[in-house]
Every structure is written in structure tokens, then in C-alpha cells.
Symmetry: C2
Subunit: 463 residues, 2 copies
Amino acid sequence: MGLAQLVSNRPLITHQVDTHIHAAACMNQKHLLRFIKKSYQIDADRVVQNIKGKDVTMKELFANLNLHPYDLTVDSLDVHAGRQTFQRFDKFNAKYNPVGASELRDLYMKTENYIDGEYFARIIKEVASDLEDARYQYAEPRLSIYGCNPNEWTKLSGWFNKHRVFSPQLKWMIQVPRIYDIFRGRNFVPHFGKMLENIFLPVFQATIEPHANPELSIFLKHVTGFDSVDDESKHSGHMFCTKSPKPEEWNIVKNPSYTYYIYYMYANITMINQLRKARGMNTFQFRPHCGEAGAVTHLLASFMTADNISHGLNLKKSPVLQYLYFLAQIPIAMSPLSNNSLFLEYAKSPLLEFLKKGLIVSLSTDDPMQFHYTREPLMEEYAIAAQVFKLSTCDMCEISRNSVLQSGLSDEEKTHFLGSDYLKEGPEGNDIRKTNVAQIRMAYRYETLCYELNLIKEGLKTE
Amino acid sequence: MGLAQLVSNRPLITHQVDTHIHAAACMNQKHLLRFIKKSYQIDADRVVQNIKGKDVTMKELFANLNLHPYDLTVDSLDVHAGRQTFQRFDKFNAKYNPVGASELRDLYMKTENYIDGEYFARIIKEVASDLEDARYQYAEPRLSIYGCNPNEWTKLSGWFNKHRVFSPQLKWMIQVPRIYDIFRGRNFVPHFGKMLENIFLPVFQATIEPHANPELSIFLKHVTGFDSVDDESKHSGHMFCTKSPKPEEWNIVKNPSYTYYIYYMYANITMINQLRKARGMNTFQFRPHCGEAGAVTHLLASFMTADNISHGLNLKKSPVLQYLYFLAQIPIAMSPLSNNSLFLEYAKSPLLEFLKKGLIVSLSTDDPMQFHYTREPLMEEYAIAAQVFKLSTCDMCEISRNSVLQSGLSDEEKTHFLGSDYLKEGPEGNDIRKTNVAQIRMAYRYETLCYELNLIKEGLKTE
């Protein structure tokens, strides 16, 4: 009987946070199907679209698509990833459209549409309610700010406040897709600087003059961080260096590199945080997608800028970077089921290897709509990892603890879930009655880290 | 969009049967924990044991174990398999005892004890109720008849009827552990023939004179088959042949071989079935555990005697036997999560290979208490297989259909779940509106089977 077993009255899984999940895919496919059918029963005659000045009811919308919701199945809904999406991010992105119809994505999974994103808000609130039932589970859904238009924040915060999407189980993140090239190609923005301005200027303004921006100020209180998202395997060809054009000089159609994006997001967030901290406001973490695919240099960029990263798969390919992430204890939100459908087969996932080495990994779902089968996607993620990698209870509790630590939960919440000393290093920071992580595990982690750090210190001395 | 997707109004998973599950481990660990705590809240002062004439209350029982149910956790309950059970069937068997205490197994997971198996019956009924909520799910729990004592059937059927353990979601199976050597060693039986008599004579009697055996007759109506269980990796050293001792001559302490057990179970069940069929009674399938470990000859014995088998892992090692199981379309109830904890790592499971080749595989849980994490163990089994092997919807529906076909569900139920022509071969036997299996898949299966059978026919001609 290990130490963990001596602790009484704790559940198998302690508090855990789904550290990486996209709001637009936070419901599972059955949930979405049920919601669509229910909405049709109630709202068939409701106007849900306006095409060229003509009102379109839900009935007409489905009729135009040659569909009746009664006939919809999870098969015909076709939002689930499968063999056909592996190594095909394009096909995966298309899965965001139910029945392949962007009209349905627009109606059910967007904050901005004819019904002011009402359905999307309701779906998210149902997900939050499920999490409340599960009690120990939290999630950090990402909402998009594109930087295509200066009004995006106003609209998003309006949606958030109007529908009261707030839930104690949810901590909000803003994701910025790296698609400047598309906006520039369509002449929506003149240069990259304008995109950055659209993304960050409203946040600066709401920070400096909160009363002049009441809606956004309220919303920002619930935002805990920024994410940078898109297919990392796309190459830009650009090498970010001191000679690179400034954002306002970047007016070509070509996309800047991953590193370029990351640096300028980091720079803006850092500035904003300084302003907000000085004013006693909440600050934002920077938690980009990184190392899911593409060049290993992405991991270097995030190493220097990010609070933690999502995926980190490519650390597999670079022992040096892996070592740096270990030394700096930079957390990694991993999603092996997502990877299994997109970039790396489950059995090849480096999750277990990273965990054993002492990297700070958590488990997350990414997109339950596309990847999961059960009503408890995060539990499914933990269960499969436990089965495939034969994780012990202590392993699972350590991963859960990591997820709380790296999340955007408040200091009060972390204290409540992990114990009052959670910020201390080593076993001292662990309250086994709350985390169910054995002290011997904590001691081992701390010793190995100190040993490596000391090795480097000694190495520096002798030089 | 595949054929399966054109079918409307069907759920992702159609009717499915958990084709291999042991009643004593049919609840998951959290369920058992909850039940123990609840029972203590209500029944702390109830007499639950009598040791040497002295009544023992539940409070005293737990006190004797130095335990308080309030302090119990899934960790201290310690019924879950893990790294330490791999290749160790002995350690796995010990996991059947909550907190390592056989007293608790006796109180909560036995049909025969001081409280007449009341708790065990209630746990099973709660599992049945969960299945009823899931609607499309059925299970075939195994209850033990040991053959150690001629009264076992009377007691078991008494328990079944007294507690009304009946549920439309459950089809009952009788499992016979291959532990003659233990009974003989303790002088409980004089020879193997007596063990067979204890197992089968009451069934013969209740078949011939149902009114003289009312309790057993009722119970037998709910029994759909027999299973032969134990660790197959144990060797007996005996080679079953025409010169082997008859059962009543087998009076040594050594256990007979797997094949010996299988043959005599088969012989008795066949006789019983003839009698029952002639009387218009329900008959019994023979569905032994086979090929989980041990010699491949086990698979040969079952090939000649069984309606279908559980596990079948070792078919991996024998292409010839695999081919025979394919030609005869003998179904195999596989439990890759169980194997993962005991005999074979998940990624090495031959499930996908067998499925691709056209073997009739189903998915089953074996022991949710030891192997599963979620509230829906069978769904967990399907979800993990779908993720790890990237099964398509059609694959999953085919496996579900297989599970119904090979189960002990009645003809009415199978007609209801699979369509009225379910006994016909090939696509004709498939009602896609009920099974969601594409006709092109059914046609492919039928063609490949006919092709192979024809090949053999032609081969025989030319000789």
C-alpha cells in the first residue's frame, strides 16, 4: 500500500482542469445533436438568418440544406474526427461544420449571428452545468478574437454579458488564429500592425479607461489568458530576426512566422499586464499552442515567452528543448486523443515519457465534439491515458494537480483545491489531503530538479 | 459520406451486449465504495456475521478490520488492477477482496452469507438500473457454481428468486471454475465425477421434474449458458485422450486438463439441451473462457465444443486455428482492457486484426470493478477501442451487432434489435435501419467467407 493509499476520504481523481479546450467544440457530438433537434422542436418558425434582406426561419434554413433535424444522426452530423483526418488539418477544420454546412456552424457555434449567438451561449451553459454536476471538474474554453476588425471585442463582450455565459466552472481564454494572410489577401487589414491593433488596442483602452468600456471591462475580468492557434505544420518561410519588418511594415500577403506572431503577442500581453497590475486588475497568462507540429523552433519561441503551452509533442524531437522545459518547469497541456486523430498515434504519445522525466504535464480534451465519445470527455481522456500507459493513482493525481497549477484558476481556488502552501516548492507545497499526491513523489520531483539545477550551477563555477 | 451515414435516426451505437462480465465485479470501484458507505450509514448495527456462535454487527466487523467506512477511498479499497497485476493472475484474484479483506468480499459480493446475499443482489440491481437508463445496453453476468456441494444450485436459485434479481437488461450465465484440485485436496469431493454430478445433476433433475424443483426451474429459465473459468496459464500436465481416466476414476489431487474439463462440460450441456428442447424448455449455450493464456490446444477444444468463446487472444499464435474460427464463424467476446491489465498490452491486442479478417468479435468488460474508470464501463471499452484502433462508425456498429448475435438474448429480442431476418446469411440478414452496419460491409464479409469456403470445396473435389 503506497503513501497515497493511506490518505483517507479523497476521491480517486481530485480537482482537475481541462486546460485546453475550444469553446466552439466543447460539447460532444451527441450533445450538439440533441441541442439541434431540441431547438428545431421549439424554434422551427423563428427567424434565424437574413440573406440579402430576406428573413429565413429555421425551418427554411434546414429545408434549403435538404435536411430535417429529425433525420439527423451523429453520422450525418459528421463532426467527429477519424482515420480520414490524420495528418490532414484541412479536413479536420472542415469537421467544424455540422453536416458540412457552414450555415449550421454559424447558427449553433458562433457568438455573432442573427440570433446574437444565443444557441452557442446556451450550449456552453449546458456544458458548464454538466461540469457543475461532476463537481471536481473545471474547463478553460477558448473564444476567438481574430484581429480582422476593431469591433470584435465589443461584440464578444456584449455576447458574453448579454447571455450571462459566466460559470464558476469555466475560466475563459482568448485564442488568436494566425491567419493574417487570409485577412490581408482579402484586404481586410493593410498590414500586420493593424491586426495587432485590432487585437490589443481595445484591451489597452479598457485597462486605462475601464468606465469608458464597461462591457469589455467586465468580460476581461473573466479572461485569464491568451492562446495563439492554427496549424503549425504550415510554413511561412520567414525567419524572424532583428532585420524583420516591423508589424506596420509587414504589408505583404504572406503570413509572418510562428515566432513573429508569438513575440508580438507576448510583447503586447506583457505591456497590458504591467498596466493592469499597477491598477490592481487581473492579468493574463500567455499559453500558446506550441509543438503540435511544424518546426521545433516554435518550442524555443514559447520557451522564452509563454507561461505554459498546449501540446508540446515536438519536444520529443529535441532533447535539449525538453531539458530546458524541465529545468524551467514550464507546464504542458497535452491532448493525446486529439493528437491521435491528427498528428501522432496514441501509443506513440510522449505523455508517459514526459511525465516520468518530471515535465509538468496535464491532460486536456482540445475538442470534445471531434474527439470524444462519452458524456465525460475529460474523464475519458484520463481513463484512456490510465489504461494505455498504466498510470497509477499517484500519476493521475499528479497530472490533476499539474492541471490546477497551470490553469487560470484564481489564487483562492488554487488554495482551496491544492492547499494553502501550493506556491512553495517541493513536498512543502503539497497538501496530500487535498491533492492525493504522495509526498515521496513530490520529494523525488524536487530532488531530481534540484540535482539538475545544481549540476548546471557547478558547471558554471568551473568555467 | 459512407452508406452508414445515409441511414437516418439511428444512434451512433446501436444495441450492444456486454458479452463477458462477472457478476462479482460488475459494479465499478466507485459504485462499490458508495454502496459500502451507504450500507454502513443505514445498517451499522445490523448483524452481518456469525463467528463461532457469536453475532457480529457491521460496526464490529469493520472495527475488527481496523477500518471505518468513512475513511475508505477507492485507493484503500484496492480492487483495481494495475501495473502490479500484469502477468500475475494470483495478484489479480486477490484484488477481488476489498481492502484485502475476504470478509468484505463475503459480505458484499457473495450470494451466500449471513444476510443471504442481500447486498450483492442490491448492487447487481443497481447495475441493471444503470443499464436500463442507458437503454441500448445489455449484459450477461456470470454467477458461480463450483461443484463442491450438491446444494449449490438450491442456494443460488433461492437467492435469485428471493431478491428478485431478474432484470430485462441482464441475461444470466453460470461459470464453473476449474478448481477440482482444491476441492479434492480438502477432501470435499472424492473424484472429478462427483464434481460434475454436483454441477449438472440438479439441472437434469429440474429439467425432468420441474415441479419437484420449482425454485431452480424458475432460475434456469433466466440462465442462458455455461462458462468455464480460471487461469489458463496453469498447466495440468495431463493430456486428454481415449485412455484418460473416466471422471469417476479421476480421484487424484491433480487437476484434469483444460480439454478434459471442456469436453465433460460440453457433453453434459449437450445432453441437458436435448432433454430441455424435447420439453420445450430454454436451452443453454456453452461459452467458455478460452485462449486468454496457456496452450493453444485450448482453442482447439473449444473449436469443437463451444458456441462461442471469451478472449481468444491466443488465436494470434495459431494462423490455422484462426482460419478455422473464421470458417466456422465462431464468435469471440474480447476484453482488451482486461487483457491490458493481465496478459497483453492494449496496443498489441489482436482485436483490430481479427475484426479486419472477418472473425466475429464483440467487446466486453470482464470485470468493471478491476479494469474500468467511468460510470459506463462498456462504453469505455468501445471508446478506447475506437480511439486506439481508429475504428469507424461502421466497425463499431458491426461489433455491436456481433455482440447481440452471440449473446443469450432471446429470438424476440434479437429480432427487435437486429431485424426479422437476422438469422439469414450475408447482407440479407442485416437490417441497416436497426444495426447501422453498411450493406457493403455485410456483402464484403459474406463474399470473403463464401470465397474461402468455396476454395476448400474445390480443393476437396480435386483430391
